[in-house]
Amino acid sequence: MSGTTLIPRGRPPGKLSPARMGLYAFLAICALFFLTPLYVMLVTSLKAMPEIRQGYILAWPSAPSLAAWGKAWFSACTGLSCNGIRVGFVNSLRIMVPSVIVSITVGAITGYALSFWRPRGAVVLFGVLIAVAFIPYQVFIYPLVRIFSHLGLNNSVPGIVLIHTIFGLPTMTLIFRNHFAALPEELFKAARVDGAGFWRIFGAIMLPMALPIIVVAVILQVTGIWNDFIFGLVFAGRANLPMTVQLNNIVNSTQGEREYNVEMAATLLTATVPLVVYFVSGRWFVRGIAAGAVKG
């Protein structure tokens, strides 16, 4: 029910049998496969442009330099201003933090209400949510722009937070619903007999049990929201443009000359926040899934 223990299976580590050597060899090859693109990005970011033009993508830089990193952070041009991608960093945080909190809150409550309470029409609502999860969300942008401008929500942090909530809702609801649905229903009944109402059961019993799944949700949402470019661009307003808009400006120019070292450095810099979240919470991530996200 709780306190999922994470004990690895299999034989205890002993001497290296041929089978285990094979296992390590396979894992090493896989790790290599996974790391190669990162390696390419890293060495490219350390090279100068003439060396990149040579086309030896796997070669270690002849004169490794952090110049591109400096340029990406401080001085790369992203339009008229040449202040690098750091410009949007604070904006990205200002968008991300409330968006993550609000979207997860709404998703958790919705998932909870759908799993235990099943009011009339719940299936239809859930069906709509799942259907939306499969539709490219760019399709929604245009009508939403119209709706938002009617409501006066355009170009504001609340507006972009609402957008992230809208598009995070299907996945968040899904994982929370699945998590809660996997919990024994008797727990819910016991709480009702104890006199707890809708919110009390949620706050005192279900939410504490959902802590690991919340970590999963945070990781998914941090990645999604941090990497978002199009919503930030369209709904955040120019005072709140996130970092990815700068990244896109560096990376996606159609006719301008391209500096791959700066692009790679900028990408790696932009990915720092989700990467840190992953590495720090990797353990929690697995544990969170273990606690029930996968059941149901």
């Binding site: 119209r146 355009n154 000359e257």
Partner: protein
């Protein structure tokens, strides 16, 4: 009195640019010039606008489609920028039809555009007798760039006509070089096709194709030979070309790994960034069978219709500044394009640009670019067919022509 939105913009301007918040003539401009060179170019506009008393609020969004989407969304959503960039041509037709753009008739009259701008460009921004956008530059789209070093090594003279081209490519090939550096993405595949069509077919055929959608012409022998020429070029590109970025193709020329590349004049930016000068390390030319056929596109700024009169003033000021001779020449230098004004002194531009400024002044030497003639929907549909034809060795010329003819006769 400020609306809340403009107050917000003022705050934004202070944060982003630390510029004086002059409420009077503040212009927020959406454009897609984001790279280093482009950035320097757009700074010319901003500086000149500032010198004229305005405040330039910069909203740069890389990728033409991204920037246009953002601008159109905001305009339709009731929160338009002061000005927005389009490619010269039909990209803003729908905005005009929906009466979302303000005309710049007064400006056009005051500066006498008919006299100072190429006629095709004035026509390209005119709808129903009103002028709706300010052209700011001209990009030639059908240049052939070549590496002097590579040509020298293969013992080839720079080609001067389409007849010259193929023997030169053969020689480059036998010298072990990539004859034609190519970036196999749909728009460049279309651009190459346009290069062949303009170069071998000339102005009339080009316009008959994109503008008049002349199906009979498409089924004729001349068009067929153009199609065959195009496909013949495929023998001279390297196997790595599909999906390649245009600048990586240019990079092959820069390194002397490849002999030549068909590309627009913006490719000069890559050469410049690699420390090369036109006429010295590399050359530029336009191949044409029927006199000169210089394919001219460019960029314009359009101005959404606004309620706020102070913003309208800013629009007028911006429209004026964009076309001032000093702005024009400085911008062209930085951007690698040529001034849209015909009456400015182009001696300070590079050799390629100087060559082009002669053609720009001569209406007979010009071909309006693809975007000027056809709406994006049609362009895209044709582009898909061209791209398929280029990449699919089993697709016959007949099939291609039939598909193109069908698409041209559809409604767009």
């Amino acid at each position: 009195m400020f609306t809340r939105r403009s107050a917000g913009l003022a705050v934004a301007a202070m944060f982003v640019l630390a510029a004086p918040a002059s409420a009077e003539e503040r212009a927020e401009v959406i454009h897609w010039w984001t790279s280093g060179g482009e950035s320097a170019a757009v700074k010319v506009f901003a500086d000149q606008f500032r010198a004229a008393g305005g405040t330039w609020v910069d909203t740069a969004i890389a990728g033409g489609a991204n920037a246009r989407t953002a601008a159109i969304n905001r305009t339709v959503g009731g929160d338009p920028p002061t000005a927005m960039q389009f490619n010269t041509g039909k990209q803003f037709d729908d905005l005009v039809e929906n009466e979302l753009l303000a005309d710049v008739d007064a400006q056009a009259a005051a500066q006498n555009w008919k006299a100072i701008l190429p006629a095709s460009f004035v026509q390209a921004v005119t709808r129903n007798g009103h002028v709706y956008a300010v052209p700011v530059n001209i990009h030639g789209q059908n240049w052939l760039f070549y590496s002097n070093d590579a040509l020298h090594r293969a013992d080839v003279q720079p080609p001067t006509s389409w007849e010259d081209l193929f023997p030169a490519l053969d020689k480059l090939k036998s010298a072990g070089l990539i004859p034609l550096a190519f970036s196999g993405q749909k728009n460049w595949e279309r651009n190459l096709f346009n290069n062949v069509m303009a170069g071998r077919g000339g102005h009339d055929l080009f316009v008959a194709f994109w503008g008049k959608r002349d199906v009979a012409m498409v089924k004729g022998p001349e068009f067929r030979s153009i199609v065959e020429t195009y496909k013949r070029l495929h023998d001279y590109v390297d196997p790595g070309s599909p999906g390649r970025n245009w600048n990586d193709a240019t990079s092959l020329v820069i390194q002397g790994k490849a002999g030549m590349q068909f590309m627009g004049d913006w490719a000069k930016g890559e050469f410049t960034a690699a420390g090369m000068t036109p006429g010295k390390e590399y050359g530029c030319t336009v191949l044409s069978d029927h006199g000169m056929a210089y394919v001219m596109g460019g960029d314009v700024f359009a101005f959404p219709r606004l309620k706020d009169t102070s913003q309208t003033k800013a629009q007028q000021l911006l429209a004026r500044v964009l076309l001032e001779p000093k702005t024009q020449i400085e911008f062209a230098q930085k951007k690698g394009s040529i001034p849209v004004r015909l009456d400015v002194d182009t001696s300070s531009l590079d050799t390629c640009a100087r060559k082009a400024s002669g053609w720009v002044a001569d209406a007979k030497a010009q071909v309006p670019a693809n975007e000027l003639l056809s709406p994006p929907a049609l362009t895209g549909a044709i582009e898909d067919i061209i791209s398929q034809y280029w990449n699919d060795p089993t697709m016959t010329t007949d099939t291609f022509i039939t598909k193109v003819a069908n698409t041209l006769s559809q409604q767009f």
